[in-house]
Symmetry: C3
Subunit: 260 residues, 3 copies
Amino acid sequence: MSIIALITDFGLKDNYVGVIKGVISGINSKAKIIDISHNVSAQDIKQGAFLLFNSYNYFPKGTIFMGIVDPGVGSARKPLAIKTINYYFIGPDNGLLSVAANSDGIKDIRVIENGKYLLKKISTTFHGRDIFAPAAAHLSNKIAFSSLGKKEKNMEIIDISKPNIKNKILEGEVIHIDNFGNLITNIMKEDFIRFIDGKSFEGQIKGKRITKIYSFYSEARQNEVFFIESSFGFMELAVKNGKASSYFSVKKRCKLKVTI
Amino acid sequence: MSIIALITDFGLKDNYVGVIKGVISGINSKAKIIDISHNVSAQDIKQGAFLLFNSYNYFPKGTIFMGIVDPGVGSARKPLAIKTINYYFIGPDNGLLSVAANSDGIKDIRVIENGKYLLKKISTTFHGRDIFAPAAAHLSNKIAFSSLGKKEKNMEIIDISKPNIKNKILEGEVIHIDNFGNLITNIMKEDFIRFIDGKSFEGQIKGKRITKIYSFYSEARQNEVFFIESSFGFMELAVKNGKASSYFSVKKRCKLKVTI
Amino acid sequence: MSIIALITDFGLKDNYVGVIKGVISGINSKAKIIDISHNVSAQDIKQGAFLLFNSYNYFPKGTIFMGIVDPGVGSARKPLAIKTINYYFIGPDNGLLSVAANSDGIKDIRVIENGKYLLKKISTTFHGRDIFAPAAAHLSNKIAFSSLGKKEKNMEIIDISKPNIKNKILEGEVIHIDNFGNLITNIMKEDFIRFIDGKSFEGQIKGKRITKIYSFYSEARQNEVFFIESSFGFMELAVKNGKASSYFSVKKRCKLKVTI
């Protein structure tokens, strides 16, 4: 059974996601559609790329990922289909797909342009429905990947996990705030551990300090703030039985500094 | 594979939608259930009718739509099943289904009353679970449509897209606010274009003006407010890289005036 | 077709639920996954247990319920699989599963520990992905229940619906607030009716009174506050065309008193 996994910033209030699933089901009624998330912050391509990167390799080989965070819809940005070693990625050429696709290993990139695999009428505002959904559905019906359109050599690339280290200061970013108010950073655990190198350290966000790192939530004392490895290998800031997002007053992406 | 598509105001916090899917799956384990939206504003029948109307014809022929925005649950309002040229619609007789069903072309209407196709115990508060879900599931099992109950001649009708034109003033309504803060109106593009007829125009919502119309989001300047055709053929108000809902301080349905 | 039904406090913003579905689909691509809710209040085990109890028996026999509200993830609390007369329950040993499982009738309890049925790498923060999802998916592939791990005799138990009656005062709890702002209590209708025994009564929440009980929402006058039987047999507080949660200023679980 073919899986099509969706990640978008469409939210769950409107009929956008439902209509996309209707279009897919009309082309391949047997496609199994899985929602990764539809609550990427509106137009936050980097956050979407981060979440897709953290998710893709938990899906079975052959999964078709359809990612749509698309502030440039209707402009000249290209609709892309990417074939990687284990997966397919469909979405706008704005970097959203680049982190996951590069990580898995890109084999072929196509511009989606074969009218046979698109809706008859292409709007200027909803390519998810008119271009990406039908392309993904036809791909799940096992059409030749190359039939989607002409080969593309370049695509937009986003860089996520390259925190900046200079003069014993590591600069990173809070890239996502999860449902529990945990702040997920773009600093991978290995980079963090190598940087602090067993020494005591001080993290800073908006003037507030963090000096602890734990391996389990349960190691922390009530209301203590600490670093912990997130479920996907990045460092995360948490407050025991509280919300780090409230403690640091963080509502969206922001800078983070660590010194030793 | 039979598709049952759901649109409700149940939200996603409670177990209501999950229980409905459990009931459906107990009757037809092979039904493919698709969520259009469960975040219709509470008890806003007109908004639900609008979203269903904008969605239904993207689904494959034979799809069974189950719509539940039902302030009158437990009262005398009838539970209906409607057969149209291409689809089936299941839900309360309060107008919710009427716009989509009329648009597709009604062939038969039945009152859902055959106990064989309902849960044993019918509550006064949750007909979605006790009446609509089992009826939809049995229908997806290909029972005869007429076996659901006796023929019904009349049903509640809602009128959505008839903006009022008088003395060079077009009066419409903001009928839905989407996830991006765009204000979706009940004015169809053709009606709008015919009305302004190439002349300059001024739209007004809550004392604030709109004088631009664009074909692409990318045509607008940063923070500019403008009309654009929505993804479903209705005129929409947008603010480039902002939220029209914040700009106009609109939180729910409200009036809109356009003069030339 | 095997059904796996999920109830968690993961929310729908992150990729947590999507990744769980990816893991399940990689092990059993034919599993039908149904969301009961992912918006249980963060770490509120009792609320999760309540919603699961209210949901399970609407699902077909053989359904595998995977419940994750797990403040103790990474600590010594055990991962459990419970076989009941009609169902399977998978989740942490913290009481979350106990109300539904006990109600259906427990036949066997196992600690999930057979590495063959887990992900290779077990994190300290996301057992939903690493332990519970693979265990549920393998179970849906019809492995022997006993192969998951060794027999367990005891598990954490939560008590939900035992309101306290003393000196003509019934003390209960608002245990859940639904999407419409209705306050769902832990007092079963039978207990309530037996207690008031046809006499007039006065309910109190945060100093505000309730003296009415109705069978239908439509019996109440505009803005009237009243008790009504909820869709799952518990007493509920509602305000006609309003929100009881706003009327009583209730945002989370709180006490409720009824006197006759």
